[in-house]
């Protein structure tokens, strides 16, 4: 079914795993450790398809706990991290030297509260988005300085958790706030829509669909994935929901290549691959109307029903890090808190279903 998993171990507790934007076709991930008392590091890992293994291309010392990383598209050595040191949070733009383990601090991004997420714009290398619990900030990156351009607040009693910029529209970003999701126009820095309650207590992750500009998925602490359409945010009902985890869904990620394919990671230590051909076919904002009984009677529709396609259980702790390869549509990595990083491939049967 699934190919042999490749594992790689970081020795320290780790939370963040991000794909490095595709440059020369190689699959690269960047990871950071989150140890309170020991020296943290940021590692650049590359998948070696020839030997089917994961190779550490670079490793840099990072004094603070790394809570999030984002690479500058096209400049692998330039990245920004969200970090904390004994409860003091911040974000910093780093420049890695080609040799040696030292990072040079380019600029600190001044924050007031807990920084949860940093995101380098995929459209404009001079633009950054950071998510602080109490604010959403955009920054413009100069040669050696970072300037805050705008700042927006989540609203009464809400806290931002994470964000997902729209893959094609540089104006739009989804921001997870408390139990809900907000849609922001990050250029005008104002909220343009939102779902008050997407999940019962917390929405932990959001991800845009690659093909449908209105579609996105959220994962939250009610163990479910929910699919939404930006045109129907006022409706409390999700387009579809899928369940298959037994604790919080910490990460969700639409495949950047295939509309039918999703990943989710959970604090129940599992990673799931989801296959949703019917949902991918559905273009409009209306929820699916499934005639009763059709599903059970027809074998073919049963086989191609939307839902969990495979569960990976190589992890032994909560899986916080989850990222697709930026260049290989069937490759993805997941990382649990104990530092174990696992690279898996999408099961072949799903792959062929999508391709053929």
């Amino acid at each position: 079914m699934a190919a042999e998993a490749i594992t790689f171990s970081l020795t320290l507790p780790s939370r963040t795993l991000r794909a490095v934007p595709a440059g020369d076709g190689a699959t690269q991930w960047i990871v950071g450790t989150t140890s309170l008392r020991e020296e943290n590091e940021v590692k650049l890992l590359e998948y070696d398809p020839a030997h089917d293994q994961l190779v550490a291309k670079a490793s840099w010392v990072h004094p603070e706990e790394v809570w999030d990383i984002s690479c500058c598209p096209g400049h692998t050595g330039t990245f920004v991290t969200a970090h904390a040191k004994v409860g003091v949070y911040g974000a910093t733009l780093w420049q890695a030297s080609d040799s040696g383990r030292q990072l040079s601090r380019v600029a600190d991004l001044k924050h007031e509260g807990v920084v949860r997420r940093v995101l380098w714009s995929q459209h404009n290398t001079g633009q950054l988005l950071t998510v602080e619990e109490g604010a959403l900030r955009t920054w413009s990156v100069g040669d050696a300085a970072v300037q805050q351009t705008a700042c927006g607040a989540p609203g009464e009693l809400e806290q931002f958790w994470t964000a997902a910029p729209h893959p094609r529209d540089p104006q739009l970003a989804l921001v997870a706030a408390g139990p809900g999701v907000q849609l922001w126009d990050v250029q005008a820095m104002k909220q343009v829509g939102g779902i008050e309650v997407a999940h019962r207590m917390r929405t932990w992750d959001v991800s845009w669909a690659p093909g449908n500009e209105h579609r996105f998925v959220t994962g939250g602490d009610d163990c479910k994935l929910r699919f939404w359409d930006t045109r129907m945010l006022s409706r409390p009902e999700a387009l579809q929901e899928m369940s298959g985890h037994s604790h919080w869904v910490w990460g969700v990620a639409y495949s950047p290549f295939h509309e039918q394919l999703l990943l989710s990671s959970s604090t129940d230590t599992t990673v799931n691959v989801w296959y949703a051909p019917a949902l991918a076919k559905l273009k409009g904002p209306e929820a699916k109307q499934q005639p009763m009984g059709v599903k059970s009677s027809s074998q073919s529709s049963l086989r191609d029903a939307d839902g969990k396609a495979h569960t990976y259980d190589e992890h032994e702790d909560s899986v916080y890090g989850l990222a697709w390869s930026a260049s290989d549509p069937w490759l993805f990595a997941s990382m649990s808190y104990d530092g174990r990083l696992v690279v898996n491939k999408v099961p072949k049967n799903i792959k062929y279903k999508i391709l053929i």
């Binding site: 020795t11 020991e38 009693l157 037994s246 009984g293």
Partner: protein, 800 residues
């Protein structure tokens, strides 16, 4: 004599003999003399005769010729008389004719008289009698005048008839028939006639519809006609427009007729009228010309009427079936159930689901329609009737299942509302156990009674011969659908979206917190207020889960057994659009899935309420700069109380297997000691911990939750504690914060384990360690408290 007699004697003898001879001789001579004359006479006579016979020959010849002459003369006379006789006969005939002609001569007068008395029928009768004569002789002599007069009178009659045709709607067809007899042109008349008949039959149908409406109204009244509501008679007044209620089978007190009675009455009128129409059309308009073109209007009319007829039958049978099954499903009684008594009358499902009534009505329909078939073969009425029967039967089956389903879902609704009115878990006396008993009885008995009621169909194999297999399929399909809808109604009641059968029901994920505007008012209680958006009652979810398991284990096998006995579906080809027959395995699988979903949801609801509690407590604590711990935080007691409530709920429905098995005392002290050592180590050991913990954190893995108190309770606790681990990992703790958590967990451990007991406590204990491990890892100074210090703190607490 010569030897014996003496000579004397002989001589004497001789003398005497000689004397005698002499005497005899003289006698003879005497005789001859005496008779001589006679001889002479005879001889003479013979001679005379001889001469006479010779003379007679010629006389005879003569006689013969005379006789011939007589014969000739006679025939000549006859010849002559024949002509006369014919003339007499002819005259006689003429005389008769003249008598009849007398009637013809009278015809105009009589017609006139009839016309004046408006007895058009009589007038037409006279005219049509005389018509052949007039046709024949109307152009001759005196007849001409008469014919003209008669025709004039006929025209008057015809005009009068047409007038009547225009003015009076009610007996059009009569007028048309008369007109037709008067020899009017066909086309419009036939149309008009058919229209008149059609209107007549439509009236019958309307009347019948009114009757049917009353029947439906009565049967829908509470108690139903079957229960014999004498009070309902006033409400069920005979509808206006129904002329003779008795003929429709109304009882004297106005109780409407039973369905078979009604169908019989309707058929009597409508089918008879139809037959008469067909006969009249055949006889009068078509006159043997049975070509399709000529029969077309008739067929069209008949088709319309019969379509209406079947519509009415369908509706009436449908209504009747509806009320029968409603009665059978005890829908009216169920409303009265206030508690969950297992002896409630609504649980005594009768076996009569109205099958016989439906079959009686439909067999009457088939028979009566069959009568028409020979007259209207083009309409293939038998097929029509068979189709209607099939439809009626299908409808009845569907209605029966619908009623049963309604009954069950009303049971679920009632339980839901009863539980809601019991003000949540503040009062832990929710009647979960009786409610479960009640619902399981409804489901089990209801299905059994329904199958029994439908089995009556098997006794009507003759009527359903063509459709026996489909019938079984229909029953099986409905059963399947019933179970499916039960499953989905369970899930809907528990507000679970079934991923495998997403329906468009809006009841699912509308549950929301009060939008975080005032989080402290919503204590995370899964059953606080009773707003529509509330999460479902945990007790209800648990009850439904148990019900689903009961159905999987008991009801489905029973149903399969019953099906094997009677409703054996056909094994052959099945069109893809038909509902699938009952597949026990599939249904059981669905029920199992639903039970798992419900249990999952149950754990989820409780777990989430714990998570919320813990999130708040973690969020409201300054972990980095906390005060050194003196006592466990109040959240611990809150958590334990929640679990206690959950346990109380579970104890009502779930078998107490595995509880209290493991004494929760001494061993835990050692573990705390060991864990504090372990925690000082770093990630490698922590991963070892995780390994131990792995597999147990998933409270419902592939195998699903076990339905035991301890397993469910442990699952709830695990969800809550796992959340706590996650919350802690997002924090940075100071030394005091870590120690506070250590104390909290130390305080909770024995209490939690006592509550859980059994094998499942193991995982929970490890998760408590996991919490402390997470805290230690996120602590700037991972200095733990000694076990003795912890003991001391708790001892101080208990003294207060």
């Amino acid at each position: 004599m010569t030897k014996t007699y003496s000579v004397d004697r002989l001589l004497t003898e001789h003398r005497s003999m000689a004397r005698e001879i002499k005497n005899l001789d003289s006698d003879m001579q005497q005789l001859v003399y005496e008779n001589y004359n006679k001889f002479i006479a005879a001889t003479d006579t013979i001679r005379a005769m001889k001469t006479n016979v010779d003379g007679m020959e010629s006389d005879m010849e003569h006689l013969k010729t005379n006789m011939d002459t007589v014969a000739d003369k006679s025939s000549a006379v006859n010849q002559k008389l024949l002509k006369r006789r014919q003339q007499v006969e002819e005259l006689n005939r003429v005389q008769n004719l003249l008598t009849r002609l007398q009637a013809v001569f009278d015809l105009p007068g009589r017609m006139q008289a009839a016309l004046e008395e408006d007895a058009l029928g009589a007038a037409v009768g006279f005219y049509s009698e005389a018509l052949p004569l007039l046709r024949k002789y109307g152009h001759r002599g005196a007849f001409r005048g008469i014919a003209a007069e008669a025709d004039a009178a006929a025209r008057q009659v015809s005009a009068a008839l047409k007038r009547r045709l225009a003015e009076r709607k009610d007996d059009t067809e009569q007028a048309v028939l008369l007109l037709r007899k008067l020899g009017e042109a066909d086309d419009t008349l036939q149309a008009k006639y058919l229209q008149g008949r059609s209107e007549r039959m439509t009236r019958i149908l309307q009347e019948a519809a009114a009757v049917a409406a009353v029947m439906a109204a009565v049967s829908q009244q509470p108690g139903g006609a079957a229960v014999g509501g004498s009070s309902s008679s006033s409400a069920a007044a005979v509808p206006a427009g129904v002329e003779s209620p008795e003929a429709w089978g109304f009882a004297a007190n106005g109780t409407p007729p039973s369905l078979p009675r009604f169908v019989k009455a309707l058929d009597e009128r409508l089918i008879n009228t139809m037959q008469e129409t067909v006969m009249n059309v055949n006889g009068i308009f078509l006159q043997g010309d049975q070509s399709a073109a000529r029969r077309k209007p008739l067929l069209a009319m008949a088709k319309d009427i019969i379509r209406e007829y079947f519509k009415l039958i369908r509706r009436t049978v449908g209504d009747s079936a509806m009320s029968a099954v409603a009665t059978a499903a005890c829908l009216h009684l169920a409303g009265g159930d206030k508690d969950f008594s297992a002896t409630s009358p609504s649980l005594d499902f009768p076996d009569n689901w109205g099958t016989d009534t439906v079959m009686a009505a439909m067999s009457a329909v088939i028979t009566d329609i069959g009568l028409l078939h020979s007259q209207l073969p083009e309409l293939s009425l038998r097929d029509w009737a068979a189709a209607a029967t099939e439809q009626a039967v299908r409808g009845h089956i569907a209605a029966a299942f619908g009623a049963l389903q309604e009954r069950m879902s009303s049971g679920v609704r009632m339980v839901t509302s009863q539980l809601a009115s019991q003000d949540g878990d503040q009062a832990p006396v929710q009647p979960l156990s009786p409610a479960y008993g009640y619902l399981s009885e409804v489901i089990q008995r209801g299905i059994a009674a329904l199958l029994k009621g439908l089995r009556v169909y098997e006794q009507h194999g003759r009527l359903l011969a063509s459709f026996q297999d489909q019938l079984s399929d229909a029953v099986q399909g409905q059963l399947q659908a019933l179970f499916q809808s039960l499953v989905s109604s369970f899930l809907a009641a528990a507000k679970i979206k079934d991923a495998s059968a997403t329906s468009s029901s809006s009841s699912s994920e509308s549950s929301r917190q009060p939008s975080g505007a005032e989080p402290s008012t919503n204590s995370g209680d899964a059953s606080g207020s009773s707003a529509a958006d509330d999460p479902p009652k945990t007790g209800l979810v648990l009850l439904l889960a148990k019900l689903a398991m009961f159905m999987e284990d008991a009801v489905v096998p029973a149903v399969m057994e019953a099906l094997a006995g009677s409703f054996q579906g056909r094994s052959g080809f099945r069109a893809s659009d038909e509902p699938p027959p009952f597949v026990g395995g599939e249904v059981a699988r669905r029920l199992g899935t639903a039970a798992n979903l419900l249990l999952g949801s149950y754990v989820d609801l409780h777990g989430r309420s714990l998570s919320l509690l813990l999130q708040r407590s973690v969020g409201s604590t300054n972990w980095l700069h906390a005060q050194p711990p003196r006592a466990p935080r109040p959240v611990c007691d809150l958590l334990l109380e929640r679990l206690g409530r959950c346990e109380a709920e579970l104890s009502r429905l779930v078998d107490a297997s595995g509880r209290g098995a493991g004494p929760a005392g001494a061993p835990q002290h050692q573990r705390v000691g060991s864990s504090s050592e372990v925690l000082l180590e770093s990630a490698a050991v922590e991963r070892g911990m995780a390994k131990l913990f792995r597999g147990k954190v998933q409270p419902f893995g592939a195998s699903g939750l076990r339905f035991t108190q301890s397993a469910l309770l442990a699952a709830v606790a695990i969800v809550g504690l796992k959340s706590l681990v996650e919350f802690i990992r997002l924090q940075t703790l100071g030394k005091a914060g870590l120690q506070q958590l250590q104390l909290d967990m130390y305080y909770m451990r024995p209490r939690l384990l006592r509550l859980l007991g059994g094998p499942d406590a193991e995982a929970v204990g490890q998760l408590l360690d996991e919490v402390v491990a997470a805290a230690a890892e996120r602590s700037t100074d991972p200095t733990m408290l000694e076990t003795a210090t912890l003991e001391k703190a708790l001892l101080a607490l208990s003294r207060q």
